[in-house]
Symmetry: C2
Subunit: 229 residues, 2 copies
DNA sequence: TTCTCTATTGACCGAATCGGTTAATTATAT
DNA sequence: ATATAATTAACCGATTCGGTCAATAGAGAA
């Protein structure tokens, strides 16, 4: 649990500079376990219903606390939403910087590495991917501009996944196999695995991971020339 | 356009027996083009926001008509929702009965066939799959019971997709390849292709179809023993 | 025990939106 | 011009919205 402290310290810095001194301090002083429960409730709610259609009452109920307490912690619904966004952005960025190894050139190893990163992030907040995906399509005037600001300032952590596929070793493929097509398959595959229903337990994630390993190995064994296996 | 007349006739029968004489007649008498626009708006809205969080105003705006007109056509929000469900169920069932060929035993051909069916259904109502998927998770008390009734009465058109994978010819696979694993990959693959953002034009669907053909061929060519290619 | 201070909530606010109705307007056809 | 049908703007009471606040519950110090 100590691992997530880093993100919160970073986040406190950022938020305070933007929104002066805020009720957020109240939130940061409660036990991390309670923090997580509230954040996860918000991520699930915002992720499935978008900003507008998510009511603070819904989130409070899902978190098992009163609505008033959420306003005590975050001040406004908008502040809660943007806090979630910054938090997820930071977690994703930290996880990526910490675990991604650019020296891995093998096609499948790279993709597995990226999936591991996503899974690690989802172990912290299972609804994170669903939320971030919904942010991408969020169009409500009340938050649209601020989303842009945060995402561009954050250097767009998710764009890297695109870049991450580059510079891989495609000579290993059998003749007649189009690596781009394989890449498409793998993207669909990993997306499908991870963007499913957000209510996933730790066990589910581990099972998911193993299944993904199996699939990738299957493809690797049949798409690579024999000398590269 | 004449193809969809069948569904509506069937549906009229069903609905009238359940909900006596309803304002639905008004709806069925307007041009099919306008009907489609309203239904598609409802499917998108219900599919992305669920029953509760979808307001009739939202749907009316998306369909480019006034809210009052929707009540003129359907009477209540609930009736509109259930009409959508019955319509989609009928379309899916008809499409399946019409196109599915149980004599096709080849693993990949079967999956391609099922995807073709889904794509054909989505050409009629692009948001259909998204909506039906959301129905599966719908939990609102106002419609929950009626959903169960309709789905069980309709013989569960989507359960067949599970059955449809059975009885296929698995001897064609190379040794060491687990057909169940291949099946998992294909399910993820086709799901990923078809459950993406519902706002898809006809062109997108055709492109999607071609991409899917490519992927399936790639897998087939590398997973089957040579004598079966 | 009593006092204090803080964490938390139930009850409440005005405003907005909800599902649904209706009277009036527009378009159409004779 | 008139009768009829299609469509909507305006409205209804009820609910829910984001947000506030005074009251309560709870933990520690005395």
């Amino acid at each position: 649990m100590t691992e997530s402290v880093n993100y919160i310290i970073m986040l406190t810095d950022t938020v305070n500079t933007i929104y002066e001194v805020s009720p957020l301090e109240n939130f940061l002083n409660i036990p991390q376990e309670k923090q997580k429960k509230i954040i996860d409730a918000a991520l699930i709610c915002f992720g499935t219903n978008g900003y507008r259609k998510s009511s603070v009452s819904d989130i409070a109920t899902a978190a098992g606390i009163s609505k008033a307490l959420i306003f005590h912690y975050f001040g406004t619904k908008k502040a809660l939403y943007l806090y979630c966004l910054e938090l997820c952005g930071n977690i994703a960025m930290c996880e990526f910087n910490e675990k991604f190894d650019n020296s891995v050139t093998d096609f499948f190893d790279r993709i597995m590495l990226l999936s591991d990163i996503k899974i690690a992030a989802m172990k912290k907040h299972p609804a994170m991917l669903s939320f971030l995906n919904s942010v991408y399509f969020e169009n409500d005037d009340e938050v649209k501009a601020d989303i842009q600001t945060i995402l561009t300032n954050g250097q767009g952590g998710d764009l890297r996944t695109g870049i991450a596929f580059a510079c891989t070793d495609i000579a290993k493929f059998k003749d007649g196999i189009d690596p781009k097509l394989v890449m498409k398959i793998l993207i669909r595959l990993t997306d499908g695995y991870l963007s499913k229903i957000p209510v996933k337990t730790r066990i589910d994630l581990d099972a998911l991971h193993e299944e993904l390993v199996e699939c990738i190995n299957l493809l690797k064994n049949n798409f690579y020339k024999e000398q590269y296996l």
